[in-house]
């Protein structure tokens, strides 16, 4: 063993340059994995370390559409130090001209914030708002042109701006905001007059518990005391849960894309190791002549590969570990939370493990071939026999593959998705490889071109040892990803900017009191004659029991049980709502006034195992309403109209204080007039513009798209390294061809043209594969996953393909330049 180490180091010292491809591929692959993992960990670490601040205390109770009762408040206050905040949407109107703006109104008591500090930006006229004062988000000041000392109108109150919000400690934990924040105190909220029976608002009660108290236990005790109150209890572990879950899921998805990049890097590893060991054939045979066993040979090269792979992996880990710092330096301001910078061992260990397994997996076949090179090779100039891998090698490959999948899946947060993704990637890679082999076979059968340069170019793509099949795998996956993204992007964009807005309402109106419905309709039709308005009753309610079983007693909720998480907007209707179809059961008669019946969206019911006839209990404003399921509905969510997962029969539920939700369908171009007209007539009604909602969704999708493109870029980078490696590996053969052609009178330009023809052919083939595979993937996502119309932008897809072709051609030519500089005399002399 020590001898093998010595010989390995001795040979590596002078002859290890051929392993650069191995090191570079592993460097790229592990850097991608370690970088994504470290970044994800540093964001999640930051969220975890700030969880108390984001929650606003040790424990939080939330309830919709009501404040805590005196009894409840007393119970909360008995458990610890208490703070009350109320959050709702509202319209902020400038005093004077200008359009009203949708804002998130947050009213806080004097105890707020229990954790962290609230700061106003420099220049504020008071430390925090009191009475008819407001602190506003900088975005609102920009949008409405407000300055300190200006006034704005919210509901019935005229509020004076005392400053711009600098730090709102619990902002991240409050979830998605539809508009910029306006912060006021409890007296200010009362002055707005927006808190009415049926208005949509959420009250949050935060507690700072005595030292040693367990938030979960205290929360459970309070819930038991008020079982029907409809409270949802939150502890710091779940603070910013949606954000955390989103980041964890995106991180996992990117990690899996990184794993695909690593698999491509593996193709490079295989090519690099194979080329390296082929170059060592004579050395191996010589060592065998001198008495080296096959085992010694394998150990020598395993040591060399291990050292170089280790170097690549360690360098990749170093870069990956530094990614959070690089991200902070580059786009720190855009991050949702300041990163918790540090070295996170777990993602680094996983990346190192995956890198090592990929290196071994792809190097093993070449290593096994090297091991079996006979000593007689020196005499007969034979190549290593192209025998099938032995059972031991096949078993080794299978074990490494199993270990690779196991590590990728077991370290993922969602193992099932990771398993599907890993399986799909493996299938895709094998598919691409088969396509590559088929291409080679087809090219071989094509009629021989008459022009020698074309003949040579074509031969280079199918001759024995040509890397065409490997390049289809290495570059095909990255190009296919980009084509699929272009298709998905442009189809989504067409839906968001064309089809969806065309059939979607222009506005949603919330906090509309039933008695104001006529005024609302009049204001809208005055501003936009011919506008259509749908108005339905709305209130918030939470499902607290299914078929007699309390939701609070269920230990874990499946992902499809989203309807059980927190409270939902519910409505009632005598008739089947538009855009709905009954799929099971029967809709109640128009004049039904019996015991409460309910209709559920069919997929939600399926997720909960509910059927027609089952009982559910919904808590509405602290009152439990048991209802029997009369019908299940299929809902068309695509139209962005008013749709509800839970629809009650009229009757009993009508007694609850409620508001109206309205949707306004009007011609484009009247948005400003409608918003102003409603704000003047009914200042307490909030108008949410659908265009803003779509823009918000598009912005989130855009950011996710950038992240996915960055990860896909790593697969392209790995593919490019494989391409360069393949060109370099075939350098000797190319130099020989070029030397002979020069000898026969070929000019440099002709030779360059020959190479250009070869890479243009290769790039066109790759583009074809990308169009086929990426197109199929894009079509599946658009039409099957998103259930959207197939509407890709042909120009964008074509531009993507052209860039791919130009890139392959350019890089291939650049990598060939050293071979083009070959001097025939030297080449022929050296042999």
């Amino acid at each position: 063993m020590r001898l093998a180490w010595r010989l390995a180091l001795r040979d590596l010292r002078a002859g290890g340059r051929g392993l650069w491809l191995l090191a570079l591929c592993l460097f790229l692959g592990t850097a991608a994995l370690a970088g994504i993992g470290s970044l994800s960990s540093s964001i999640l670490g930051a969220l975890a370390s700030q969880s108390h601040v984001m929650l606003g205390g040790d424990l939080e109770m939330r309830v919709s559409q009501r404040l805590a009762t005196v009894e409840e408040t007393a119970a909360f206050a008995g458990a610890g130090r208490l703070s009350e905040t109320v959050r709702m949407r509202a319209m902020a109107q400038p005093v004077g001209t200008g359009a009203p703006v949708l804002v998130t109104l947050k009213a806080v008591d004097s105890a707020w914030p229990l954790v962290g500090s609230f700061d106003l930006a420099r220049g504020a006229s008071a430390p925090r708002p009191h009475g008819l004062q407001a602190a506003i988000a900088p975005a609102l000041a920009d949008r409405m042109g407000l300055h300190i000392g200006n006034t704005l109108r919210i509901g019935s109150a005229r509020l004076t701006v005392i400053g711009l919000i600098g730090n709102e400690p619990d902002k991240l934990g409050e979830g998605f905001n539809l508009g910029p924040t306006v912060l006021i105190d409890s007296a200010g909220l009362e002055a707005t007059g927006l808190v009415q029976p049926g208005s949509l608002y959420e009250a949050r009660y935060r507690l700072l518990l005595p030292p040693g108290a367990d938030p979960g236990t205290v929360g459970a005790t309070l819930l038991r005391r008020f079982p029907s109150a409809g409270w949802s209890v939150h502890t710091p572990d779940g603070a910013a849960g949606t954000l955390r879950q989103g980041i964890a899921q995106l991180g996992q998805f990117l990690l899996l894309v990184g794993l695909a990049a690593l698999a491509i890097a593996g193709v490079g590893v295989g090519s690099g190791v194979s080329a390296y060991l082929t170059g060592k054939t004579r050395i191996i045979a010589t060592l065998k002549v001198l008495g080296a066993r096959s085992g010694t040979i394998a150990t020598i090269f395993l040591v060399q590969l291990g050292l170089v792979a280790g170097g690549g992996i360690v360098a990749g880990l170093a870069l990956g570990a530094g990614v959070p710092w690089l991200v902070v330096a580059a786009v720190g301001d855009l991050l949702p939370v300041p990163l918790q910078l540090g070295v996170y061992p777990e993602p680094l260990l996983v990346a190192a493990g995956l890198g090592l397994l990929v290196a071994l997996l792809f190097a093993l076949p070449a290593l096994a071939r090297a091991r079996s090179i006979p000593a007689a090779t020196l005499l007969r100039d034979t190549l290593a026999p192209q025998t099938r891998p032995s059972p031991a090698v096949l078993a080794g490959i299978a074990s490494l593959l199993a270990a690779l999948v196991a590590l990728a899946v077991l370290t993922a947060s969602d193992r099932l998705i990771a398993l599907y993704f890993t399986g799909a990637t493996a299938v895709l890679l094998v598919l691409l490889w088969l396509v590559g082999l088929a291409l080679r076979a087809t090219l071989r059968r094509l009629p021989t071109p008459k022009r020698p340069l074309f003949r040579l170019a074509l031969a280079n793509l199918h001759r024995p040892g040509a890397a065409t099949d490997r390049l289809v795998v290495a570059l095909g996956l990255g190009f296919s990803l980009f084509v699929a993204l272009a298709i998905i992007d442009t189809s989504l964009s067409a839906e968001m900017h064309g089809a969806a807005p065309a059939k979607a309402p222009r506005f949603f109106a919330i906090d509309l009191q039933p008695e104001d419905e006529a005024s609302f309709r009049a204001a809208v039709t005055r501003a936009a004659p011919g506008a259509t308005i749908e108005a339905v009753p709305s209130l918030r309610g939470a499902i607290v029991a299914l078929k007699g079983r309390r939701v609070a007693d269920m230990k874990s909720l499946p992902p499809e049980a989203w309807i059980l998480k927190g409270d939902r907007t519910i409505t009632w209707s005598a008739t089947l709502p538009p855009r709905n179809d009954v799929t099971a059961g029967r809709w109640w008669p128009a004049h039904y006034h019996g015991p409460p019946l309910v209709s559920l969206e069919d997929k939600a019911a399926q997720g909960l195992g509910l059927r027609v006839g089952d009982m559910i209990t919904v808590s509405v404003l602290g009152v439990e309403v048991p209802a029997r399921i009369a019908a299940l509905r299929k809902v068309d969510w695509g139209g962005l109209g008013l749709n509800f997962a839970l629809v009650f029969s009229p009757g009993y539920i009508e007694e609850a204080p409620h508001g109206l939700l309205a949707s306004v369908y009007a011609p484009p171009g009247r948005d400003g007039a409608i918003a102003r007209a409603v704000a003047d007539a009914l200042p307490s009604v909030s108008m949410i513009r659908t265009g803003d909602l779509i823009a918000d969704i598009a912005s989130v999708l855009g950011q996710v798209g950038i992240a996915i493109r960055a990860a896909a870029g790593v697969t392209i980078a790995a593919g490019i390294v494989v391409l360069i490696g393949a060109v370099t590996a075939s350098g000797q053969a190319r130099r020989a061809d070029i030397a002979i052609l020069k000898l026969l009178g070929a000019s440099r330009a002709q030779l360059l043209l020959g190479q250009a023809i070869e890479y243009a052919l290769l790039a066109t083939l790759l583009a074809g594969v990308a169009l086929l595979v990426g197109g199929l993937g894009g079509w599946t996502v658009v039409t099957r996953l998103f259930a959207l119309p197939w509407a890709p932008d042909g120009e964008v897809v074509a531009a993507t393909l052209l860039v791919s072709i130009a890139g392959t051609l350019g890089i291939g030519l650049l990598a060939s330049l050293p071979a083009l500089a070959t001097r025939p005399a030297r080449m022929l002399r050296d042999g």
Partner: protein, 224 residues
């Protein structure tokens, strides 16, 4: 030293099968110098490969230094060569990534010798390359490379030394010098020397000349 009976070697499969050795009987005594003479394609190098344990025969038996080579596998043959057999080839086949000293030390290291580098240095000095110890093959002339190869073959003090066209890649003067060195080292060490050549004049320097033609021994004569 060497006892081969009805030795055959075929390569490839039907219909492309080539019978290279077609029944060779040969015995060699310790310390002999034997020239294996014959034109290209006569089977000289193949016979050497079988006798040196680089190739397993298709049929017949071959005993070398009391070991039955026909029964050994690739690894067994590799171990059998250690310390028993030295080989010098026409194209030198030095390890390009190792210095002259390291090249000569490798077979000693593989045999587990603890004084590999001391002995390698002594052997290189003996072939006149004491001043080229740290040079890499690419920094040496053809003649010097072949001297390193001879030193490497002789360093483990083998009982058998095979030299396959050792002057084939060298000019006449250098070739003569190399052969002088080879015979001098043969005389010094007492090793059995097998020289494979198609040069009749070179063959005449050996005590015994075995001539091959089409995979068969055409003549086997000892010089008086």
């Amino acid at each position: 030293m060497i006892a081969a009976r009805n030795l055959t070697l075929s390569l490839g499969r039907a219909p492309a099968r080539v019978d290279i050795l077609r029944g060779i009987d040969l015995s060699v005594r310790p310390g002999e110098s034997v020239a294996l003479l014959g034109p290209s394609g006569s089977g000289k190098s193949s016979l050497m490969a079988v006798l040196a344990g680089l190739e397993r025969p298709t049929g017949g038996s071959v005993r070398v230094t009391d070991l039955d080579f026909a029964t050994l596998d690739e690894n067994g043959l590799a171990v059998a060569r250690r310390g028993r057999i030295g080989i010098v080839l026409q194209a030198f086949h030095l390890l390009p990534t190792m210095s002259a000293l390291e090249n000569v030390a490798v077979p000693l290291e593989l045999a587990g010798e603890t004084d590999a580098f001391t002995r390698a240095e002594a052997e290189l000095t003996a072939v006149g390359l004491g001043h080229r110890l740290r040079h890499y093959p690419a920094q040496l002339s053809g003649g010097e490379q072949q001297r390193v190869a001879i030193a490497r073959a002789l360093a483990p003090r083998p009982a058998l030394l095979f030299a396959d066209e050792p002057t084939g890649n060298l000019d006449a003067t250098t070739g003569t010098a190399i052969m002088d060195l080879l015979f001098a080292r043969h005389a010094d060490t007492g090793a059995t020397l097998f020289v494979i050549t198609h040069d009749a004049r070179l063959a005449e320097r050996c005590a015994r000349v075995v001539e091959l033609r089409d995979g068969l021994i055409l003549s086997d004569r000892r010089r008086a």
